[in-house]
């Protein structure tokens, strides 16, 4: 069936179909899942597996079909793998912050609303920088 197709074409095509299908599944999950905390994990899969497969397809294509070694794609993969958890953490913090302030009617998620912290402690996002905080030079 694929007698005249080269190994590079078969491998690249398989990786492209795999990667774009996973990206589509991730975006479908973003639409379909009920609350933000659940929605967070669908695009994460698209970032790591989906784009990882697409960039691997690019590496394979330029290496096998053109004889050209490129490493840019690996740089993009590394950068995305480092930044994806940071982004997800920031978005989850925004969600919890706004839910506690009562600024949103969005559904809270499977674990319910976050409990208030004990004592007179508070979340770090509510506290102004106080003396002793690293980077606070107001008192100097």
């Amino acid at each position: 069936m694929i007698g005249d197709a080269s190994l590079a074409e078969v491998l690249t095509s398989a990786l492209i179909v795999l990667g774009s299908t996973i990206a589509l599944i991730g975006s479908w999950g973003l639409v379909r899942l009920p609350s933000l905390i659940e929605r967070l994990h669908a695009p994460t899969m698209a970032t790591t597996l989906g784009l990882g497969a697409l960039l691997a397809a690019s590496v394979v294509w330029f290496q096998l079909a053109r004889g050209m070694w490129t490493a840019h794609e690996l740089l993009i993969t590394l950068f995305l793998f480092i930044t994806a958890p940071v982004t997800a953490n920031m978005i989850a913090k925004v969600h919890l912050h706004r839910m506690r302030l009562g600024e949103t009617d969005a559904p809270p998620g499977p674990a319910g609303r976050p409990a208030p912290p004990p004592g007179d402690a508070d979340w770090a996002t509510y506290e102004a920088p106080h003396p002793g905080t690293p980077g606070d030079f107001a008192g100097d």
């Binding site: 074409e9 690249t12 095509s13 990206a23 690019s58 913090k93």
Partner: protein
């Protein structure tokens, strides 16, 4: 064969962008809109990589790398502004 795979990839990523746009317009929270924008950046990077394979030129990867960096900085700045009311304190 690779032409069919590229056509499928462009179609799937375009549909994914349309789904992200739906979530961006619909909300309901601000965090959902940030997440939708971040996912749109990811899908656009995928489209740029596919366009690089289709055109056979190596110059599109700089664009993809730049978009990955700018997308990350934009998302973090947006989240930081909502958390603290300021981006650089």
């Amino acid at each position: 064969m690779i032409a069919y795979a590229l056509a499928f990839g462009f179609a799937a990523l375009g549909l994914a962008l349309a789904l992200n746009l739906w979530r961006l317009v619909r909300g309901p929270g601000l965090a959902d809109r940030i997440l939708a924008l971040d996912t749109m950046v990811i899908n656009v990077i995928g489209i740029i990589v596919l366009a690089g394979i289709a055109s056979g030129s190596g110059t599109s990867f700089e664009a993809a790398l730049l978009l990955a960096m700018v997308g990350f900085v934009g998302t973090v700045a947006f989240a930081k502004f909502l958390l603290r009311g300021d981006i650089i304190e």
